[in-house]
Symmetry: C2
Subunit: 340 residues, 2 copies
DNA sequence: TTGTATGCGTTATCAC
DNA sequence: GTGATAACGCATACAA
């Protein structure tokens, strides 16, 4: 028993009123006779009329859709971002189309192109690792499509941005280690090109120097932030050279867990002998033994601010291109657990 | 310098050919003069013409969009499903609109309604815990919109389904424990109403009885599968009563980790004294100490099969309502690590 | 080979 | 208070 979809026209025919009157009645226009309106509403309900949103959007030259482009979805932080943005948008009756780039620039460009073709009302993007120059973003902005960068941004684009205050966060984490009496603090950092990695390193460095400790180049090593085995090996090498290390500040929770694993294997106690602090507050960090001290990046707030900014841009679209762009910083929280 | 979006009409005007010719040229129709086509393509490229997909879809009565409704996004398994489906769909130039329900029936209904209004070509859904009766799904199916249930399904609906072979998986896990010489195996199960929980319990039970061990009601307790503290407390109570337990099969990795944590706190060695097997193969399970033996649910394969089924249904939409519906089972893998 | 006309479902304008 | 008509951008049946 497949009921067919019914349109305004069907209502109009059935009631003997014009299409335009039905439309007006449905949309609460004032210039329609109360009794007519009642009739229309009644039949619409009976026949389970659902407006064809596709047609509405087309007519109104809006899509009520925003695009969300990011490196990954199967990722504790990003999946929280996706979930939050989708939920916030749904409150405004906006749909979200998500496109992962898998850190690939070509995929990023493709995704943006698809979104533009779909006439999305706006775009939220977190850049891939491969993205050095933001030309493709600027093009889109020039098309008059509001776009906001978040989390992984480019310093080279004149666009609105929302970022984690990585530098402050890292500084806070390291100051915490120092307050625990630690003096020889190692840092497991990420790529030399990643802005997050750079900022966390800078925060580390300034915490060290600001507190009167001496910054030692040797105590900073580069790891693959999401590869536990590689991180463990790298840390093992460092610790072999410098077993006077009494604390570790790692760029991610995974890298921190890698360090803990290595220390455990050498029967070094965490935190009494070596303290470890991670970054991100992934779910894992509360499930390890010892539970990990880390920085919470406040994914929801990142999502909220980004969506809010985009939403504002969409609402004031007329003068979007000319408006001053801003960068918003999201505050982090130091979550002190057992590893420090 | 905000370039405006250009349409077929603009090309038509600029070239002095009709709109339909331009359209035909662009879409590779054979009945258009090669030189005309060349002209059109050239200008389209120069002016960076992008077809308005919204208009195309409207005209073609298709949306090239599918809906994906599921309990959560910020979840290791589901986020992998989302990522996989989005990626598979993008290869077919299909966009995906994701809607989390947060295990809430009302949200689930709302999400479906929005998707229907948007004229999505099809819907993939994993039900909320609150969903007992699938009437709202059947309604949609009756509207002629292809819909496929996956992972969390209802046995009461006459629709296509893709599910994890939970029962087999659980049996496999428990047989593994038995093969390790374990004889007093506890099971931490979930809700009595959840189909996953029921099937995993049944698999547990049949492994026990099939191998000649005696099934003891007392060794099966209910936990909140994603609450580590509650799970730990519940297991602690059980273990106090029955410290002859030599193995645990838990409904989730979290519950398994809870058990391990409790055992560790009592200085019971895992796995020599008590073996533990989880379920899901979340990222955490390879990061704990000891690393967790668990069942991998093969999220990608679940996504692939679900998308494939939906895609087939969309392509053969004409006789969708009448076609025989099927249930597809996704095979799992036992990942043996250090905890067993 | 090209162009004209029509319509997809809806909203908005402007007569009546 | 109501309805005829045009338009959104595109694809297509049909006429030229």
């Amino acid at each position: 028993m497949s009921s067919k979809k019914i349109s305004i026209k069907d209502l109009s025919n059935a009631l003997g009123v014009s299409v335009s009157t039905v439309s007006k009645a449905l949309n609460g226009y004032p210039d329609v006779n109360p009794s007519t309106r009642k009739k229309v509403m009644k039949l619409a309900k009976e026949l389970q009329y659902l407006p064809n949103q596709q047609a509405v959007n087309f007519r109104k030259k809006s899509s009520q859709i925003i695009g969300l482009v990011l490196p990954q979805i199967n990722h504790f932080y990003f999946s929280k971002i996706v979930e939050s943005i989708v939920e916030l948008a749904s409150e405004d009756n906006i749909s979200v189309i998500v496109r992962p780039t898998f850190e690939n620039l070509e995929k990023e460009k493709m995704a943006l192109l698809e979104l533009v073709k779909l006439n999305v009302d706006g775009i939220l993007i977190s850049l891939s690792d491969e993205t050095r120059f933001p030309d493709h973003l600027i093009e889109i902005s020039n098309l008059g499509i509001p776009i906001v960068e978040f989390d992984k941004i480019s310093k080279l684009s004149p666009l609105d941005k929302v970022v984690t205050s990585d530098r402050d966060a890292a500084k806070k984490a390291v100051e915490h280690l120092i307050s625990r009496g630690k003096k020889t603090i190692a840092h497991l950092r990420g790529s030399l090109l990643s802005q997050n990695s750079i900022d966390r390193f800078l925060g580390f460095k300034s915490a060290i120097t600001d507190s009167g400790l001496t910054f030692e180049e040797e105590l900073v090593i580069q790891v693959l932030p999401n590869n536990i085995n590689e991180s463990q090996r790298s840390f093992a090498r460092l610790y072999k050279k410098r077993n006077d290390i009494d604390a570790v500040f790692a760029i991610t929770d995974i890298a921190a867990i890698a360090a803990i694993r290595e220390l455990k294997s050498q029967s070094i106690d965490v935190p009494s002998q070596v303290s470890v602090v991670g970054f991100s507050n992934w779910q894992i960090s509360s499930l390890t033994t010892p539970r990990l001290t880390t920085i919470d990046q406040n994914a929801f707030e990142m999502a909220r601010a980004s969506y809010q900014k985009l939403s504002d841009n969409i609402k004031t679209k007329n003068n979007y291109t000319s408006r001053e762009k801003e960068t918003i910083f999201i505050k982090t929280d130091l979550i002190i657990r057992e590893s420090s």
